[in-house]
Symmetry: C2
């Protein structure tokens, strides 16, 4: 764990090193992925059967067996703990409400010069959602990826999830059903992304692919980009907690560890203006680590990437936070709204003492798919905007054409585009 | 030029071939670009001086000479035709009005369960705009890239433009001044993108890079993506014109050629329900080609990529249009609004007989940077949204934490994330 104090001379060098720390150790798998995509494009369903048998250790009888049936989904839902199904439904309702509130309005401007201008929002027709299998199969991620798509109005949401050894995760299927996923395929890895982007005899192609995945999935998304839209490729997760002297060190420590337990590359940073709190949290982290099932992962993350930054005041904390542009930002301070107003760059913010970040991971309503690795400087969390696109439009009356046409002709001629100029001029009677 | 008729048996095969036509012949320059980026990262300003002298055939005296001075900008503006400056100003005002109207509202939801949820929009801090030099140096592109950034509230807009043989394009400088660009650098190619993304001693790094460019610029944007945000990488441009029997063939032909004159890879497609209009437009295109200065380019584009599709009715035209998802769509029909309501996928639409597409290229107000190559299925034109990002936030009261916390604990435990669960449970007094 890194400890820095803004009053000490080495601070700027240490902080710069923290900013430049490369936590992403994703393997390069470009060539392997290119081969898988080529195979799916050439062989279609046959490639999916072959690759599933090779990588997921089960052999589908035919392409039909790749699609999860209604009966399987119903059996999965019935097998889940009813309290969990109720919790999933509670979360889904809240996520739906928040994302529906994001839906933008169409724009229409009636220009007195004699034109009407507008901008229209439309949902994408078909979207693919990738859900990782195995240990990282999170039902909450199904909700967070599929609900915004459906809230945006996407008619077809095709989900791909690998089923290693043929085993389905019932809660993932229950989440998919609740979120409004319209078809579920038990296909994983780069082959799933290729099938979604290019289509096969069984799977119709989609227009956009979203959802987290391993290095193969991330590289496959990179390679199909342009053919289809993709969401951002997430790096390791991080949290910045800004806390003042009045906070409970045990709570601050657990919030840091909730980030650190994701994986060894995760990063948890405390920024505080209280030297006493800094000390107490450092001790509380060590105490809490003794009791956590995922202590090996969380401890490694904290040791390697964790940091405690001591500042002169909270204003300085806000400035450092903007340079870090964290994915998650907790404001454990007396006046969280005022401090939040000072900060420009964060994926999602959690204000006040009743808001551990984990509330936002599951149930509060905003999305948990957020920009990592300082990309919150220019990127945003997943939302309905990722599943909508805009068409602008112009409708001039004859007067409007005459009001703006002559200047357009001048500009087109200055750029040497004669047909552009003439297409306007001939309507002006020139 | 391709001619297809939906009533003929070969139509579907021919139309599929049209959809799959690969017009983008961009050379692969990955390795060369990686070398240039590495050189700029290692050598900074010295690399920019070296590369400028090699590729742009002029030798800056020092890094200071890379920045265009206020005096140079003022001299450039003074050298321009006042009528052109006035036309540029007219266009800029209209583009500003339209893009300011796009600005979204922040969201705040007061949840009766005892939480406040919100979504806040913020401008990106610093943006780089690339402007191609030489023959494709278009002042209109400066306006279309820089004005949305400034309308979004971006404080710093750094423009890079190559100046082959040291020659500045006065109208490009005038457009930059009018659009609110805050610094202008005479640097081109991959080295400009590298300097914007990574910074040098002279040039502070930006958070996002936008603007068109050649194969080197496009590849450089691909390679710096993640370090900074980028806009979409544009392919060859295209238009679909849907026209009914009542249209003037000469106007339709000129609108098609305005697209075709961009470059040989451009594509112009007429869809009509009138066999007579199809014939007349085909003849009118040949006639108009005899009189155009850029006839060689436009003729090559029309011969290679142009198409006339004859349909049974306009409803069928709308269906074909959605499969093409064109960058530009002209609706030269009696009831353009009704037809537009039938169409889901297009970058920008131009409604009615007084709306040649070129009006939108220069002056109407909406952006001319639009999704190409069928990407309008999932992508949108440049807008203020490209220069804004969102931060979601949550602020529960104690009652709100108790209302939603227990279900979040259940879900966290089901996912095996114990620290997540405990960070909530310890605040619930569990």
């Amino acid at each position: 764990m890194i400890r820095l104090d803004t009053r000490e001379p080495g601070f700027e060098a240490g902080f710069s090193a923290l900013l430049d720390m490369a936590r992403d150790t994703t393997a390069r798998v470009d060539a392997a992925v290119a081969g898988i995509i080529a195979q799916v494009r050439q062989e279609g369903d046959a490639a999916l059967l072959d690759l599933t048998s090779r990588f997921d250790r089960w052999t589908p009888a035919s392409a039909v067996a790749l699609r999860v049936t209604e009966a399987e989904i119903e059996a999965a839902v019935a097998a889940c703990d009813p309290a969990l199904i109720a919790a999933l439904d509670h979360a889904a309702r809240r996520i739906e409400t928040f994302h529906r509130a994001q839906l933008p309005q169409d724009l229409q401007l009636d220009d007195p010069a004699g034109l009407t201008l507008g901008m229209r929002w439309n949902a994408i027709d078909a979207v693919g959602i990738y859900v990782p299998g195995g240990k990282a199969a999170y039902p909450s991620s199904v909700l967070m990826n599929a609900i915004p798509a459906r809230a945006a109005g996407v008619a077809r949401v095709a989900m791909c999830v690998p089923t290693p050894d043929g085993v389905l995760n019932p809660l993932v299927l229950a989440a998919a059903r609740r979120a409004g996923v319209t078809e579920i395929w038990r296909i994983g890895g780069a082959q799933a992304i290729a099938a979604l982007a290019w289509g096969t005899a069984s799977i119709a192609p989609v227009d956009r692919v979203a959802g987290p995945g391993n290095a193969y999935v991330a590289e496959a998304k990179r390679q199909v980009f342009g053919r289809v839209g993709i969401d951002s490729i997430a790096g390791p997760s991080e949290v910045v907690v800004i806390a003042d002297a009045a906070q409970d060190p045990a709570r601050v420590a657990m919030d840091l560890l909730a980030q650190a337990e994701h994986d060894e590359s995760a990063q948890a940073i405390l920024i505080t203006d209280s030297a006493a709190l800094a000390e107490a949290v450092a001790r509380a982290v060590e105490d809490a680590l003794k009791t956590l099932p995922r202590a090996a992962i969380a401890g490694e993350s904290w040791a390697r990437n964790g940091a405690i930054l001591l500042t002169r005041d909270l204003d300085e904390a806000a400035t450092l936070c903007d340079r870090l542009a964290p994915e998650h930002l907790e404001l454990l301070v007396a006046e969280p709204r005022a401090l939040f107003a000072r900060i420009r760059h964060a994926g999602a913010a959690f204000l006040g003492g009743f808001c551990p970040e984990a509330l936002g991971d599951y149930i509060a309503g905003p999305n948990h798919v957020l920009p990592t690795g300082r990309t919150a400087r220019f990127a945003s969390g997943l939302s309905v905007f990722d599943f909508l696109k805009r068409t602008t439009w112009i409708e001039p009356e004859e007067a409007g054409l005459h009001a703006i046409g002559p200047d357009a002709v001048l500009l087109a001629e200055a750029e040497g585009l004669t047909a552009h100029a003439r297409s306007i001029a001939m309507r002006l009677g020139q």
